[in-house]
């Protein structure tokens, strides 16, 4: 094939990929929901935990602080922010301490006497009304008349205002200039509740954008600073940071890679051609996942692209073995058995993920499997058509020659790496430090200073704790609310005792039907109320009949069917209650939010003393238990992976001895790398495991190619050239990642870079056949 035809073909391929990218892109719903990478919950607590990771009382709350100006100015911004956000669909609640009737949900208006505890102690009689009406006269005479006047005919006792106060957060911060402030008044505080669940990164991102836009509109003074804290906001922040850093490092890595490959092959064309199988692999993987699962998980994508990084090695092997006077098709047929053995056994190994029962890992397996096969097939059946004739035989190049000589001279008894690996295993087993990081939060780690700030703001705002929550279960919803009400006095006592600063029970927003009926019974009938009202208005300038709507409302309240959970589905209370009354649990369950837990042991003791139906859920220990269960599954999957790989290799290589020579360096490397990382103080998580799998996959290829090369010097050098280019490029790219400040990227980068180095050395030592007669 001549040069123009090849160029055309390459262009066609690139166009095809572009088309595929557009197609896949439209089906791509990148979600960052980490729960996809968790095992199915086994216990009720784990179910609650996974639910509340996104939707719990704390997960949708944003804590907002305005700083950098005088308190008056900050208060103005706080007011403007609330004004701007109140009507936005992205936020279900916007609170800054300002009390107003303007955003009271009118559908709840007739039920105000059933929801409010005002008349549990007081009576709606003439005396009560007289005090209230007198105050209303002054309200009408005050400059704020316009604020209350629209409500007065229906609600002369301003019951709405009392409900609005009741529904403020459980514990209020200090107020200045009418809005919430931090303790020393240098920050105005707001509490926002997003409509989007905490784990919905796109919803959270959209909400954050709206917040920033509204803030930018209102903040003419540039010195006012907006700070947003809370799990949802963090996830957006971390995602942006990670993307930003990954993009930055990706560009640098791409440039370094291009340079390395250009130098290695003295050609600019080859590196570009080498990218084609990789891009094909990524797109094929995405398309397969999108077709099978409907959407591609953001983490699947990130891990998947990492895992198929090995696809870049396939064309490199082809390039290094390509030589003058030999058709590219011949070269590819030569190396194909080895390449296929590596690809197929790696792919088969990923099948073990399917057995893990974790959806995210299943997606990952499909992605990697389809991707790697696509890359291997591209290298075998498409790439040779594009390859120009080789300019030189790399076996004659200076560097492979020297390196080959060095490796030939390198002798190390086999027992040394085996001994080292054994030592590493013992070290891993006996080390006093925990091997695993079970804190799920560390999978998407937030910088410590942000967490500290979050704790500070949470305390200042009295927002509910994200770690502890009281869980109440009952046979049905009504019993649940009644039990919740019965607990209130004891909970108040706990607040007095200092075990917790405040609590937020669902029955504060929605009383049980029994309580609502009691309140109905305490309301006077129309005749009595009309008489009281008449007596109370005596001497006050109210028009006769001005409060008829009020009489009707009370009468309606007396006759109304008490509110149930279903009735408030579309009201302003719904989002509040959804967090406290989670759906999808086996038994009806209520969560009692806790603010500033001071004495968890006292709470646990209290829960135990209240009976079987109440317990304290510690999200941290529940999540650790979950992570431990999860880890066992992953480790089982890894063992299975090893067995499958060994079987596949046996099928390809036919002799157990050859299988051993290929597998041994990979296994020893994995142990050594794990030991090394542990010695460096790394606690393992999912990211390390995935990275180690990648490193092992790469190592397997190195070992296979070393093993294939045999003793013939020229072939040995070409192989060496290919493997060195592969290892060096991988180590460089992932070494760059290791320099990242983002823990996730650092974890993957460090593990792969170290893994590749160790794998290369051990594969060269064990799988290379050169002086082995003397050694084994």
């Amino acid at each position: 094939m001549n040069a123009p035809a090849r160029a055309l073909l390459a262009l066609l391929w690139a166009l095809l990929l572009l088309g595929m990218a557009l197609l896949v892109g439209s089906r791509l719903q990148v979600s960052g929901d980490l729960r996809l990478f968790m095992p199915a919950p086994q216990t009720a607590d784990q179910r609650l935990l996974l639910g509340s990771l996104g939707e719990g009382p704390g997960a949708r709350l944003w804590l907002v602080a305005l700083t950098g100006a005088a308190p008056e100015v900050l208060a103005d911004h706080s007011l403007a922010l609330r004004d701007g956000l109140r009507e936005r669909p992205e936020f279900s609640r916007v609170m800054n301490g300002e009390q107003g009737l303007e955003d009271f949900d009118e559908t709840l208006l007739p039920y105000r006497y059933l929801l409010s505890p005002t008349f549990d102690d007081a009576t709606l009689d003439g005396d009560y009304l007289r005090t209230q009406l007198r105050a209303r006269v002054q309200d009408l005479g005050s400059p704020a008349a316009a604020l209350v006047e629209p409500w007065l005919a229906r609600d002369p006792t301003l019951e709405l205002l009392r409900l609005a106060e009741l529904w403020q957060p459980p514990q209020e911060p200090e107020r200045a200039f009418g809005v919430w402030f931090g303790r020393d008044r240098n920050e105005a505080l707001l509490l926002l509740e997003t409509t989007a669940a905490g784990f919905d990164p796109l919803g959270q991102q959209q909400a954050l954008k709206v917040l920033n836009d509204v803030f930018a509109d209102s903040a003419e003074d540039v010195q006012v600073k907006l700070e947003v804290s809370g799990p949802g906001a963090f996830s957006v922040l971390m995602r942006e940071r990670t993307q930003h850093e990954a993009t930055r490092l990706g560009i640098v890595a791409g440039a370094v890679l291009l340079m390395l490959l250009t130098l290695a092959y003295r050609s600019l064309r080859l590196p570009l051609l080498g990218a084609l199988p990789l891009a094909t692999a990524a797109l094929a993987g995405m398309a397969a996942v999108a077709a099978l699962f409907g959407s591609v998980h953001g983490i699947t994508l990130a891990f998947g692209v990492t895992l198929i990084g090995v696809a870049l090695d396939y064309p490199v092997h082809l390039f290094s073995h390509h030589r003058p006077q030999l058709a590219a098709w011949t070269t590819v047929r030569d190396i194909w058995p080895t390449l296929a053995a590596g690809a197929v056994s790696t792919c088969l190994a990923y099948l073990s993920f399917l057995a893990s029962g974790v959806e995210g890992l299943t997606q990952l397996a499909v992605f990697a499997l389809v991707g790697l096969l696509a890359a291997a097939l591209c290298t075998r059946f498409m790439l040779p058509a594009l390859l120009p004739a080789a300019q030189r035989d790399l076996a004659q190049a200076r560097l492979p020659l020297r390196l080959d000589d060095m490796l030939q001279a390198w002798r190390l008894p086999l027992f040394v790496p085996i001994l080292l690996a054994a030592l590493a295993s013992v070290w891993l087993l006996l080390s006093p430090r925990p091997l695993w990081d079970d804190n799920l939060a560390n999978l998407t780690p937030v910088p410590k200073e942000l967490l500290d700030r979050d704790r500070e703001l949470r305390a200042a705002l009295g927002a509910t704790d994200v770690r502890h929550v009281l869980v109440l279960e009952a046979a049905d919803g009504e019993t649940l609310l009644q039990r919740c009400e019965a607990l209130l006095p004891a909970l108040d006592a706990l607040v007095d005792a200092g075990a917790v600063a405040a609590f937020e029970p669902p029955c504060r927003y929605l009383p049980s039907q029994r309580t609502q009926r009691t309140r109905q019974a305490r309301l006077p009938d129309t005749a009595t109320l009309a008489a009281s009202l008449h007596a109370a208005s005596d001497g006050l300038p109210f028009r006769e009949g001005a409060f008829d709507p009020f009489l009707r409302d009370v009468e309606n309240a007396r006759a109304a069917t008490p509110l149930s959970l279903a009735d408030i589905e579309h009201s302003a209370l719904a989002s509040r209650l959804a967090a406290l009354l989670p759906q999808g649990t086996q038994a009806p369950t209520a969560l009692i939010g806790l603010a500033e837990v001071g004495d968890a042991a006292a709470l646990r003791g209290f829960a135990a003393s209240q009976g079987e139906d109440l317990h304290l859920l510690d999200m941290k220990s529940a999540s650790e238990a979950l992570a431990a269960a999860y880890r066992e599954r992953v480790l089982l999957a890894l063992l299975l992976m090893l067995a499958i790989m060994a079987a596949a290799l046996l099928a390809f290589l036919r002799r157990p001895r050859r299988v051993l020579r290929v597998l041994l360096p990979v296994l020893l490397s994995a142990l050594l790398v794990a030991g090394l990382l542990h010695a460096l103080g790394v606690a393992f998580n999912l990211f390390h495991v995935v990275a180690l799998i990648l490193a092992s996959g790469l190592g397997l290829d190195y070992a296979l190619f070393f093993e294939r090369a045999g003793a013939e010097p020229a072939e040995r050098r070409r192989t060496l050239h290919g493997i060195v280019v592969c290892a060096l490029s991988t180590a460089l790219v992932f070494g760059l990642l290791a320099s990242s400040t983002i823990p996730v990227l650092r974890a993957i980068g460090l593990t792969v870079a170290v893994g590749v180095a160790v794998n290369f050395l051990l594969a060269a030592l064990i799988a290379r056949s050169a002086p082995d007669a003397a050694r084994t």
């Binding site: 007011l79 006269v137 002054q138 009418g178 028009r543």
Partner: protein, 206 residues
């Protein structure tokens, strides 16, 4: 012809300009300043309007205190966009000034008139002075921003010589509130309020 007209207009505007400056200078009182008020408030809920008597007090340029003395005592303090209403029973309520546009209009007018600060006045309002007969005058303020206009359509400050005697606020929703000020407020008896409003606040009183 056109040029003559323009010149005449310019001259008239300039004359009005300097007349406004003179008037503002005459009205200016250094803080602290205070003036009596008599106000009538109506509501669909009330059988008869509320007649409120008290003092408007400006302790410094940026705040205003509205102290109601009868028929009950109540003290409203505006400071830095914040309003605090304190009642006899010790209760107090706070809200943002923007929730009480009428009060904001009051503060703006007072700030500008008592402070003699024309530039402050013109920052938010278009200012027009109508000279009347026998030393009477009327300053009409129209909000510049449409957002403000939705709440306050206009403010009229009406007086004679050095004495500001009436404040009319046209709310954005069409409502009108009138307030007698200064000596006019002091001299008017509650029973004669309607007549006094007609006399001091101009002919368009219904």
């Amino acid at each position: 012809m056109t040029i003559t007209l323009l010149l005449w207009l310019a001259a008239a505007t300039a004359a009005e300009d300097s007349a406004l400056d003179t008037l503002l200078a005459r009205l200016a009182q250094p803080a602290p300043a205070s003036t009596a008020f008599l106000e009538r408030r109506e509501s669909a809920l009330l059988s008869e309007p509320l007649l409120l008597r008290g003092t408007l007090h400006q302790p410094d340029a940026d705040s205003l205190v509205r102290a109601v003395e009868s028929p009950y005592a109540e003290r409203t303090t505006i400071r830095a966009e914040r309003v605090v209403v304190e009642r006899e029973d010790g209760s107090s309520r706070r809200f943002a000034l923007r929730n009480a546009p009428e009060l904001a209009a009051l503060l703006d007018s007072f700030r500008a008139v008592l402070g003699g600060d024309r530039s402050l006045l013109e920052r938010h309002y278009r200012v027009q002075l109508d000279g009347g007969d026998e030393g009477g005058w009327r300053i009409v303020l129209t909000p510049r921003e449409t957002r403000r206009q939705r709440r306050i359509a206009g403010i009229e400050l009406i007086g004679r010589d050095d004495d500001l005697s009436c404040l009319v606020v046209h709310a954005g929703d069409g409502g009108i509130s009138r307030m007698l000020l200064g000596t006019a407020a002091e001299r008017t008896d509650e029973a004669d309020l309607d007549a006094a409003l007609a006399a001091h606040c101009g002919s368009d009183h219904e």
